[in-house]
Amino acid sequence: MEKVIEIMNLTKSYGNGRGIYDLNLDIYKGDIFGFLGPNGAGKTTAMKIMTGLIRPEQGDVRILGHSVTEEYEKAMAKVGCLIEIAESYHYLSAFDNLRQLARYYPGVDHKRIDEVLELTGMLKFKHEKSKKFSLGMKQRLGLAAAVLSRPQVVILDEPLNGLDVEGMIDIRKMIQHLAEKEQTTFFISSHLIHDVELTCNRIGVIYNGKILNVENTQTILKNYATLENYFVSEVERNGRVSSSAS
């Protein structure tokens, strides 16, 4: 299987003891990878490094074979992402916001912008300025921005933040649709375990800056009643290990 994202020995620590330590992870083509972990486990840190917002102290991330730290433009050329809160220029309309981004990708025209707005259900707000948008609308716009360039890899940090149930279902459908139709690889972090269970086909658990385990969703569900049970047992096992070690 073709490796799409390679995370190698990634280390980044913050003053308060948080951070990630020697993270190793491979994501393969067609994966909808669920990055599961409690708040502060290092999910966002890892994803920020993957998208170049912060630099690692050690290690590197390769996306489609290109190093993020050294060949940023090449690495990011086929990546769409949404990190933390979906940001937009509030003085620009939804359309103008997307057009700004479209300029970085040669194949994206106005028709494609309309397409992604349709896909995320934002077409009717096309010419409204984003400062009037609700949190959910902003999140939809952010998702539209993430998939705008028909990326091969999509990195989403808490994509369902602020969405209502209908929105969650819409987005989940969209993700599955893209994964099936366009073979898009997803890297999704979430603390909503149930949702991850429904959306993702591979799951990695991160706790205290370390990857505990990576497993197929099907395999997990064979052994555990729910994903939640698996998550709790993984975390507990790790907690015991660390407490016995100390």
Binding site: G52, E73, Y89, D96, Q100, L101
Partner: protein
């Protein structure tokens, strides 16, 4: 290059959509109108000529190059950096396939183009006002020197933009950058008077360097030295600013 163009186009669009351009146009026109009114007042009140048709643009330049142009430069530069840092909207651009070097350069270029636009606008309108309202005193020489003066003023203003961009990358708050810039500006002005023998090293004096191009003898060496001083400080400021920008975590 295509990526840089995209980044630049984006920066320009943001400037334009933020109504900055409109404010700049209005303020520039206000300066010209007020200036012309003062001249008319001086002429009828004191019996002085005030300015001739070509001197009026020079009068306007001598005023704006020390006032509204540095102010515009500061506001636009602070908005372009500090503004996007605090709103986190810098991430929108940063997570696209464009290097930070290109983003930084595009931002600076957009600011420079903005200043150039302001200069051109002031030049055109002050020339128009000069020809309509003032006694004709134009010669081809004085006209070309006037136009030239406007264009060369872009260089010190660019250095100023680089300096403010550096400050905007050092300090978190845009307001802090603004006040530090203004205080530094005033301090340099005062120092330029107190130590007039070193004043050519100060940016505030360099803002007036267009005067060198008005000198009949065209002091080539002096112009070259001033150019190199500005170039040197420009390179330093750009590198330092980019270094900090490149290290920043978002």
């Amino acid at each position: 290059m295509a990526v840089f163009q995209a980044a630049l186009l984006n920066e320009l669009e943001k400037l334009y959509k933020k109504k900055k351009v409109l404010v700049a146009i209005l303020l520039s026109l206000a300066v010209i109108v007020i200036g012309q009114l003062v001249i008319v007042g001086v002429r009828s009140g004191f019996g002085l000529r005030g300015t001739g048709s070509v001197e009026f643009p020079m009068l306007v330049l001598s005023v704006v190059v020390n006032t509204i142009l540095p102010l515009f430069t500061a506001l636009v530069a602070i908005d372009s950096f500090s503004g996007e840092f605090t709103q986190n909207s810098m991430r929108i651009t940063l997570t696209r396939p464009v290097s930070r070097f290109k983003i930084y350069t595009a931002k600076i270029t957009a600011i420079v183009l903005f200043i150039l636009g302001a200069l051109l606008l002031l030049l055109v309108f002050s020339l128009l006002a000069g020809f309509i309202f003032n006694t004709n005193s134009a010669t081809l020489d004085s006209l070309s020197r006037t136009v030239f003066s406007y264009f060369v003023s872009l260089l010190p203003l660019t250095v100023l933009a680089l300096a403010i961009a550096l400050l905007a990358n050092i300090f978190k708050s845009g307001i802090a950058v603004f006040f530090v810039s203004i205080l530094t500006f005033l301090a340099l002005k005062v120092l330029g008077v107190l130590f007039s023998q070193y004043s050519s090293l100060f940016l505030t004096t360099q803002l007036d360097w267009y005067n060198l191009f008005l000198v009949n003898s065209f002091p080539m060496l002096k112009i070259l030295r001033q150019f190199l001083i500005m170039l040197g400080s420009g390179i330093m400021l750009f590198t330092a600013g980019f270094y900090i920008f490149d290290k920043k975590e978002f």
